[in-house]
Symmetry: C2
Subunit: 480 residues, 2 copies
Amino acid sequence: MKKGGKNKNNKLNNKGQQNQVSNSQSSLNPAASQFFSQAKTEEEKLALLELLQKKLQEKAQQKKMEQENQDKHQHGAQCSHGSLPSPQISHEQLHMPQQNNSMNFPEFQEPTDAYRPEHNQFLQDEEEFKHFRQVVCSYFNYRTDSLKEVARMERGYHNIGANKSYLKYDFNQRLEKLKQAIELNAQFLDRIVESYHDVAFVKDPVTKVEYIPQEYVQFRDISKLRSTLKQMIRDWSEEGKIERDLCYKPVLEEFKKHYPNHIGADGKRVRALFPGCGLGRVVFDFACLGYGAQGNEFSYHMLFASNFILNMMNHAKEYTISPFIHSFCNTFQENDPFREYKIPDVNPSDCLNPEMNDDFSMAAGEFVEIYKKQPEEWHGVCTIFFIDTANDIVEYIKTIHKCLKPGGVWINLGPLLYHYAESFTEPSIELSWDEVQHVIKEVGFELTIHPQIKTHYATDPNETMMKIEYNCVFFTAVKK
Amino acid sequence: MKKGGKNKNNKLNNKGQQNQVSNSQSSLNPAASQFFSQAKTEEEKLALLELLQKKLQEKAQQKKMEQENQDKHQHGAQCSHGSLPSPQISHEQLHMPQQNNSMNFPEFQEPTDAYRPEHNQFLQDEEEFKHFRQVVCSYFNYRTDSLKEVARMERGYHNIGANKSYLKYDFNQRLEKLKQAIELNAQFLDRIVESYHDVAFVKDPVTKVEYIPQEYVQFRDISKLRSTLKQMIRDWSEEGKIERDLCYKPVLEEFKKHYPNHIGADGKRVRALFPGCGLGRVVFDFACLGYGAQGNEFSYHMLFASNFILNMMNHAKEYTISPFIHSFCNTFQENDPFREYKIPDVNPSDCLNPEMNDDFSMAAGEFVEIYKKQPEEWHGVCTIFFIDTANDIVEYIKTIHKCLKPGGVWINLGPLLYHYAESFTEPSIELSWDEVQHVIKEVGFELTIHPQIKTHYATDPNETMMKIEYNCVFFTAVKK
């Protein structure tokens, strides 16, 4: 399944220079040319024009419905838990270059560029590269996208006219603070992708001004990028500890019960896999316990950011971000959305045993494709907010079973918010927990169900008037 | 502000018969004709075609982004609390015909048709009528829309291939049960709008088959209709009592503290207004206490349904519906989504004092437009999940102040999930609770803040793995 390939449909509709009118048939895009080659008389051409217009409307409507359905589902979760439902990399395992943890980091060293096309054979594929570029561009576009919102808020303020006199706070000050916070976030995001600058920007041959061409940008990537920022709080801030203690700690505690020693009877490290590991904190915490740890992730948004945090930090609390500035709804105090967070709470390279280097890795790609080829390889698989990212959850469960050693342990914590449930292009089957339990046993596990865990996901640490609460199933399944 | 007018933009793009190709310029739609009248040579025409295509794409993209933003916001709430952010009726106050509560209802009498164009001068307006018709059509389209989902689930099941053998439940049985539940809901919804049948359906002159023309339907209305079904559980089922006790009861208790007697010193009934009253239950509960009660609502989806429940029931528990069949995510038990609910838990006409008839009414329209013209008219205004539906919350607060008698009481319970917060066409200003408190005092109220109330909104009464929790502000403001 080559997910990047789905982008192919957009190829004909994208034009670099938006407002330039072409003046000959040869410059018509192929779809229009094809329409016209069928028409003999001018009347037929006119009729075809109308047909074309209708088709375009229908297609736009269809795409809109599709996008709405997808978005609806994602926004229901207000987060991008696990891998995101979108065309993503599906290539084979790719180890990210790890820096030597014992080296002294110079200030502002160049970030690693693990995903540059020249380092990554999978990005030789045109569609895969396009998707990769879209994600890079979404990072560089953050400032521009966010400033559109400032303009919207400015119009909203202007609209209330004389009612301004009833307000306590200077709204223009709010807008100024908002711009500053956007700049703060943008600088952080720019750093994450700075070594891909040439992938995103094109230089105008006349003015020499650099710009990101319109067709490099996907609207839906804005919300994914904002989710990435919020997930930074969950995974790499002190304030995120509450969520981590609810979601990661019980899983690691449970693992320790099954493998109290991180070195096995054969003298080798006990190794576990963390599919859909997002920004990688749980993998890192696990590696700090001395176990062998591999994260697996599917989303470039997550991969860029986790690579940055795991490999590029000079010291703890090096960056400051404000991820919750994108909504002023449901806030109690005027300044709540502007709260700043220090990232990361710990510098990964300070904590890891240098000997761990070879046994702490990230694998980029689609879970089933990678791990179906690793039978009986792993002592454990830990899935947190992951199993509902499947097109076919049965296939996920079978793959987990296959890649575990006999007696190996699968620990899961999360809801069943199936990511493709409202997609009309991606297949999805939404099984109840009742049914999932049955499948787990049928596939060949001994299942132990723990008490459910109520938690949030990448939620604003401030008190707000609306929170999504997950009532997570939590279980351990031992491979028979 | 004539909100219905926004639909005008769609006029040119809608065509009744989708697949028929017109063969002469005269039958081209005006937009296309205009484009072509500017072109002299065939080459120019071709260039214009491309321009037209681009413009259409841009427009579609713009509309898509707008729709996504709106939807994102609504779905965040998973409900349509209060009035919905959409082009809606904004006409003046319109009292719905009330049946005599003491009469015996015959079985299956014709529903009232309060909103028929011939009874309602505001529906003489073309754009208003179009919007009205779209809502009617969304009711009649429920069956068709929902069956598309059954087909999607069928494809998802087919996709898992041999993995079917791991399942415990017969998936085809789930699909059969789903179809039955859709039919159950559809029959209920058909009844609500049955007297508007001729507004929605067109008869094919040749085949005599009735159909709803494509341009009568708006995609976004599907989710609003589904919210209406869920809101039926909140307002008119036994299972909804938990939410009603959390949201309506504290407001009514608070009102009683201020006006212990429903008859005032002048011998007249004490009267309160309930803006954004949805399906009207809280207005009904209030009227049952003997007070004069008026609901105000903006959404045709809500108005049709509340009219049906308040005026057309023969007995309690007359209908059975299953509103939670539209998602199989986050369910514990296989049959949870199929749970059936009896509607209504009480027959309104059994409970109301016949003398109340003139003092229990619904006013359809936009809150500010109606009530800014009723100075010092009301003893109380009760707003539950309403104040965040404003384009300008200050204007709402001023209007509430204006329409209250001196010493009159405003009681509010709800979050600040501003409905237009992500709209790029509708103005919005998102004030924090901190700021809203200040405005309330500035406008001329004495404010008393009660402890916050945690509640859900029209949520599935079954245990599920995901719920949106609102942490509502609750206060009383007395007009100075």
